[in-house]
Each structure stands twice: as structure tokens, then as C-alpha cells.
Subunit: 427 residues, 2 copies
């Protein structure tokens, strides 16, 4: 077995391999031996890692005869992809935590796994230690998954939780998250939703047996979420969460017209189980035709939880090697189209500052009606000259909802569109 | 493929096999064909099941050449055990939902699976459609599970939830559950904790790689839970749940001294995630060394959810057959002893009706101290002549706690021990 990369996750993998060596050997049937650890620079000390195992020649390591399993925790597209492809071509099994690569170019990896009969396992790529991919790949493989709705990024959940609990603004909450190590110095991948979008692509592909890449995912981050948005949610007895949503979209005949895969901050009712997911925890709801609603909850990141997921894959892959046949390979036979965001059906919460005079509500309501958007609830509050108007819609195509809001911005009687947010959780 | 039994679960399996035939074939690589359905009586109509498939000769069916997978949903010990053993001996793979048999004599089944190289899958036996056994068997197999704490019986959770929500008594809540179909006419298996104990045995065995049977499980049902108990829990901002608990017990040297496996009603704080599991839902917390706390939530019973779990196993087993090698077989290499309840460390809530005079609290507190039990909180309320004393202890061996309570019953100043209940969830 070879390890590529020896950062936070890699050192935890090495530690667990050593600490649990006896248990792992008993569970696999043979002892697991670490043959080498590929790193960029050999001169950095790595706690608990035998320096004799370190090498900077990853290309050689992945094809060595004494290696039959390669664990990749380098991250990023290259050289991770080339190394994994070379490993599979040499008949090695591969375990990876690389969500960015799987979401961008999983197809190439899966094709190589099929071609060379190699195992490719990646439980650690989504939601850390929470067993989520294996249940989707295996437990629910005899069912029909309708929807996956989840909190899959701990950093943004921590920030939004702080904003909800302490009324902090985004910037303040982000800085606190950075101080505590929940957010990185460059938080772009998290707060702009790139990380969640990559995970959404992986989940959608598994859930619907259809190819989905990160580029297919409609993505909005949380940088625009304001204290006013969070306060507005509170008044609705709701909470703002960054959600990854994958769902089947039926056509008029009831058959699947396609799938919708999206990541954005949205309000969900406080009574929804996802609303109570605090701090940096992750949780994913899965709705399947026969199984009903399932929820998976736990730590979504961190060295030890991620290493736990990798070791679970390692035992599975090692058992497959001992047994002489690889595990299941992803099948994307369904090939459903990923629909554009405009065709996705959702609900809006809109908060407007308007002139406090008669007729404004009628004008606004008429604009919603013109776009075929039905209003579920309205609340108007006078504030001296101004009035505040809060509108929650019924479900409608996103294109109609956003076109309505664009029109409202042009109205003289609408001074400001103070908050616009999608509403998720059952209507 | 052959199906043994065609009741609530069996008919759902047949329905799903037909409805999802194309998807299943795509996921396995070959079509799945139902060769026969063994029933006790052929003259009963079974909706959606081709009468030509029905047979009363189960012995013949499980060894037929055109059958390579046997799905057992008869339940009970015999003839289920003999049929599954005969099937494995003939080289068939077996899928079962039979928790009673697995908990009573799983060892015989696992030994047969090993001997004949047959697959034995049983996800549906615990917590219905919630993917729980596969995550324990596979995802967490590289980790060290410390504790499993769960609500694994929907009937009793429904009853306790009604008692909590509406202040109903046990009998009243049971009758309502029976009317709604959540409880059977003879509710013994559920309300006396037999069903939960069987599941606890299966979970403990998987979590700790150690043999555990239903007979090893300390079991208390919910028939003695009173409206006063539930009201007492409310005052503690807690809720009463029937919990299945499996945990490692460390010795003085930190190594495992054994495992504790038990089922009883206990108070848990309302802030604990398990407290919000309502109605007939199930949820299981798993605490692992590296993965941290994980929770799995969903419908724990019902025909369709159970059938979904069976079909997940079916795809896995069929893929193993296509691939030419069986999946992992249970290993119970650890062989840790199951400790008696008296040695299990837990906490007690005790509510006493006492004489309202000075010195009573001192007498009671002294008795706890004599048994080495430390008190965490006391609340005394005068009620005319009487006073009510509520005591919550710190953690102590169950034997010491129960001995203390037995002594208190003998005191003249203690008129009644009104409620005794264990307290779970972190101290």
C-alpha cells in the first residue's frame, strides 16, 4: 500500500494504520503494510511517519510491485489524476478523498477503473466520516432515490450558525471561523460554494446513476447573505443554511425529465431536522421511493474523521483483493440531462422596502401574478413613510421568480429589494 | 432467485422487483428473475404475485438449480434456519430480515456462510431501510466503534412519544398504537423489549466483532413506564425513550474489559438528537474513535422500507455472484465478554415521596454515600405532610444504584419510591 500526500489527513491515516494494525489485519485476513509515502519535499518532519518511507518520486511509487493499493490525499486535479490513472493501469486499487477531481473529471477515473478492473473507492470525498456514499452506492441501490438535500460544507454552516445565534454579520463570522481554524485564509472554495458544488455533483451522480460534473451545478455562495436575511428568516421561524440539493424533475408524463443539481443559501423551517445541524457538522437527507426519508449526520471534515472513511474503504478494497474480485464500479446508465436553474421549481422569500401608500401591495401582487407566481403569504408593516413588505411564494419555476424580482426592482414605489432568498423544506 | 414468505414484506419485495426490473438489471449487469415464492398455503390470493410462482415446497425451492439467491422473510427460528442452512449448503447466497434468528443463533448461520463460501446479508433485520449494518460492517470497519445508542423499535417509540406529547398513560397509548397499526394485537415482542434486544445483539456483534446473542442482552420493556415517569422526565427537561445501548467497557488498564449490551427505558436530555425522534421513527447514534459521533435516522419498519433494504442487499449479492466472489463474512475475532448489568456504569433518576420533616434528606443522602454513589442534583418540594424528593446521581455501577434504591424502600420516612429511571446521554 502507498500513500500519496502527507498533510493533515495523510498523517492521520499513517497514525491509524499503526494504532489499529492488529484489528485491521483481523478484519481483512492479512496484515496491511505501508510501502511508501509520496511527498513534495522530504526535508519536512512529519510526526509519526517513518522517514525511510518518504519519497518524492510518486510516479515510481504508484507502479511499484510491492504496492497493490494507492491512497491519494494530495487533492487538486494534477498530479493526482495522472498518478491515479497510472496506478489503475498498473493494476492497483485506488482510494481517494479528492472531491474536486471526482466532480470535475470523475468520468475519466471511472472509465479507467472499468478498463483495468481496478477498485476506485472515495467515501472520504463527501461529508468526511459520515457513511453516505456507500449507503447510496450499495444500500439504496435497489431503491429509487428522489432527492438528496444536505448540508455538506462545515465552514459555511459554522458561519451561518454564528450569524443565526449571535446576529453576527458575514464578515465578522468568517473572521471568527478563520481564527478557530474552521475556515482557511483564502475561504473562496467554501464561502463561494465550490466545495459544496463538487460534493453535490458526486452525490447526484451516485443517486441518479447519471453523469454530473461540478460545472453542471448551479452554485451560489453565502458571501451575499446579510444579517438582514438571517433576521428575516428568524421572523419566519426559519434558518438560513447553505444547501446542496439534487432532485429528479418529472415531466408532464411523470417520467424523469431530468435532474436538478444546485447549491445555494436557502431558508428552511426551524422544525426541519437539517435546521438543528449546528456549528461545523454536516447532515444529509435522502428521500427514496421505498425507504422514505433517511438522514445521515456527523462530522463532515477534519483529519481523523476523513482518515476513518479512508480506512473503511481500505478494508473493503483489501478484502476485495484477498477475495480476488473488485467491488462495484459506478454505472451512469441513466444519462438524464441536468436542467438549467431557470427550469428548477422552487420558492422565494422576498422582502421589500416600499412607499407606505395605498395601491403598492396591489401593484406588487399583480407583478407576481403576471409571471404566473402564486403568493403563499404576505406581511406588511408600516414604518413611518416606508413600509416593509414580506412575500413568500408558492412553488414556481426559478426563471419566473427571478424575472418577477427583477421587475420589482424597477418600480418607483419599491425603494429597495432588501432580501431575496429561496425557501426549501416541504411547503 | 427464490423468495421464502409472502406477507407484508414479501409482497413489497415482489412489487419492487417488478417495478424496478430495468433499473436493477442495469445496476447488476444481468436481469434478476424470480423463480419461485414459498408460502404455507397456496389458496390465499396475493396481490401482484403470479400464482404460478407459488409453492408450498420450500425445501425443494431453496436447492433448485435455477435459484442462486434465496430471500428469507418468513421470520422466526424454524423452518427459517433449516431453509437458510440448506440454501447455503447448496451454494446459494442468502438475504434475510430475520432479527430473531440472527440474534438467537447467528453463529450457526455465519459459520455456514464461511464453510460454504456463501453470502449472508441482513441489512433489513435492524432499523428497516436505514442503512446501518452496512456502514458498521464496511464504512466503519477501519475505525474503532466505542458505543452504539439507538431507538430501534418504532412501536415503543410511538407509545412513549404519545405519552410525552399528550400525557397519555401506557395502556391508553398502547391501544391507540394498536388501532393505528403501529402495535400488534399481541404487543409483547415490542413493549417488553424483545425486538429491541434482538437488534441490540446484532448491532453489538457487528460493532465490537464479538459474539453476542439476544440472551446476553439485559432487557427491560416499557410496560412499567408510568405517566409520572414521563412527567418527571419533563421536569428534568428530558424525555423517556426505549434505548438499545452497546458499549465497550474499559478496565483499569484502559484495555477493553468487555462489552455492555442493554435495552431499557431511560431519560435523555431534550437537547440530545435522539430526543427529537418522534412517532415510529428509528435513529441510531454511533460513536467511533476517529469518525466521532454519527447519526442514522429513518423509518425503522414497514413493508416498503424493509423491502428497500432487502433489494439493496440483493443488488450487492447479485453483483458478487456476477463478479465471482462473495462479500465479507462476519468476523468475531475479538471475543470480548458481555458484562452483567450490575457491572454496567450508568446514572439513576429517583423520585421519592417522603415525610416532610427534618433529617429525611440527610438519611437518604447517607444511604447513597454508603453505596459509593455520588449525587449530582437534588430537588425537594414540600406537599403538606408529604414532600417529594428528586435525586439524580452521577455515574456508578448499576448494582450499587439498585442496591441503594432497594434500601430506600425499607425506610420508614420514605413513603413511596415513585419513580426510578436510568439517565443516558452525556453527563
Amino acid at each position: 500500500m502507498a500513500l500519496l500526500g502527507c498533510g493533515v489527513v495523510g498523517t492521520q491515516v499513517v497514525r491509524l494504520l499503526e494504532e489499529q494494525a492488529d484489528d485491521l489485519a483481523a478484519r481483512v485476513g492479512v496484515p496491511l503494510e505501508l510501502a511508501g509515502v509520496a511527498v513534495r519535499r522530504r526535508d519536512r518532519a512529519r510526526e509519526g511517519v517513518d522517514p525511510a518511507l518518504l519519497t518524492t518520486d510518486a510516479e515510481n511509487l504508484v507502479t511499484r510491485d510491492d504496492v497493490d493499493i494507492v491512497i491519494e490525499v494530495i487533492g487538486g486535479i494534477e498530479p493526482a489524476r495522472s498518478l491515479m490513472l497510472a496506478a489503475m493501469k498498473s493494476g492497483k486499487s485506488v482510494i481517494t478523498a479528492n472531491k474536486a477531481l471526482l466532480a470535475e473529471d470523475g468520468a475519466t477515473l471511472f472509465a479507467a477503473a472499468r478498463e483495468y478492473g481496478a477498485d476506485l473507492y472515495y467515501e472520504a470525498s463527501v461529508a468526511g466520516a459520515i457513511p453516505l456514499l456507500r449507503p447510496l452506492r450499495e444500500s439504496l441501490v435497489g431503491d429509487r432515490v428522489q432527492r438528496v438535500l444536505g448540508i455538506v460544507n462545515g465552514t459555511t454552516n459554522y458561519i451561518l450558525d454564528q450569524m443565526d445565534t449571535h446576529g453576527a454579520g458575514f464578515q465578522e463570522a468568517l473572521e471568527e471561523a478563520q481564527e478557530l481554524g474552521y475556515a482557511e485564509a483564502d475561504p473562496t472554495a467554501d464561502v463561494e460554494g465550490f466545495d459544496a458544488a463538487a460534493k453535490a455533483a458526486i452525490l447526484a451522480q451516485l443517486a441518479f446513476h447519471t453523469p454530473v460534473t461540478a460545472a453542471d451545478v448551479h452554485r451560489e455562495g453565502i458571501t451575499e447573505v446579510s444579517a438582514a436575511d438571517v433576521a428575516g428568516a428568524k421572523e419566519m421561524d426559519s434558518v438560513v443554511k447553505l444547501l446542496a440539493i439534487c432532485e429528479r424533475v418529472p415531466g408532464p408524463d411523470g417520467a424523469d425529465r431530468g435532474v436538478s443539481v444546485r447549491v445555494y443559501p436557502a431558508m428552511i423551517p426551524r422544525s426541519h431536522p437539517l435546521a438543528s445541524v449546528r456549528e461545523a457538522y454536516n447532515a444529509v437527507f435522502v428521500e427514496a421511493q421505498s425507504a422514505g426519508s433517511l438522514m445521515f449526520y456527523g462530522a463532515g471534515a477534519g483529519g481523523a474523521p476523513t482518515a476513518s472513511a479512508i480506512l473503511g474503504d481500505l478494508v473493503a478494497v483489501a478484502r476485495n483483493l484477498v477475495g480476488g474480485s473488485p467491488g462495484p464500479v459506478e454505472v451512469t446508465y441513466a444519462s438524464l440531462p441536468v436542467l438549467p436553474m431557470g427550469e428548477t421549481v422552487t420558492r422565494y422569500y422576498v422582502q421589500l422596502d416600499v412607499d407606505d401608500r395605498s395601491g403598492v401591495l396591489a401593484t406588487v401582487a399583480t407583478e407576481f401574478a403576471k409571471h404566473g407566481v402564486s403568493i403563499q403569504a404576505v406581511r406588511q408593516e408600516g414604518l413611518g413613510d416606508d413600509a416593509q413588505l414580506v412575500i413568500v411564494t408558492h412553488r414556481a419555476p426559478d426563471a419566473a421568480l427571478s424575472a418577477t424580482v427583477e421587475k420589482l426592482r424597477e418600480f418607483d414605489s419599491v425603494r429597495e429589494v432588501a432580501s431575496v432568498m429561496r425557501v426549501e423544506g416541504d411547503e
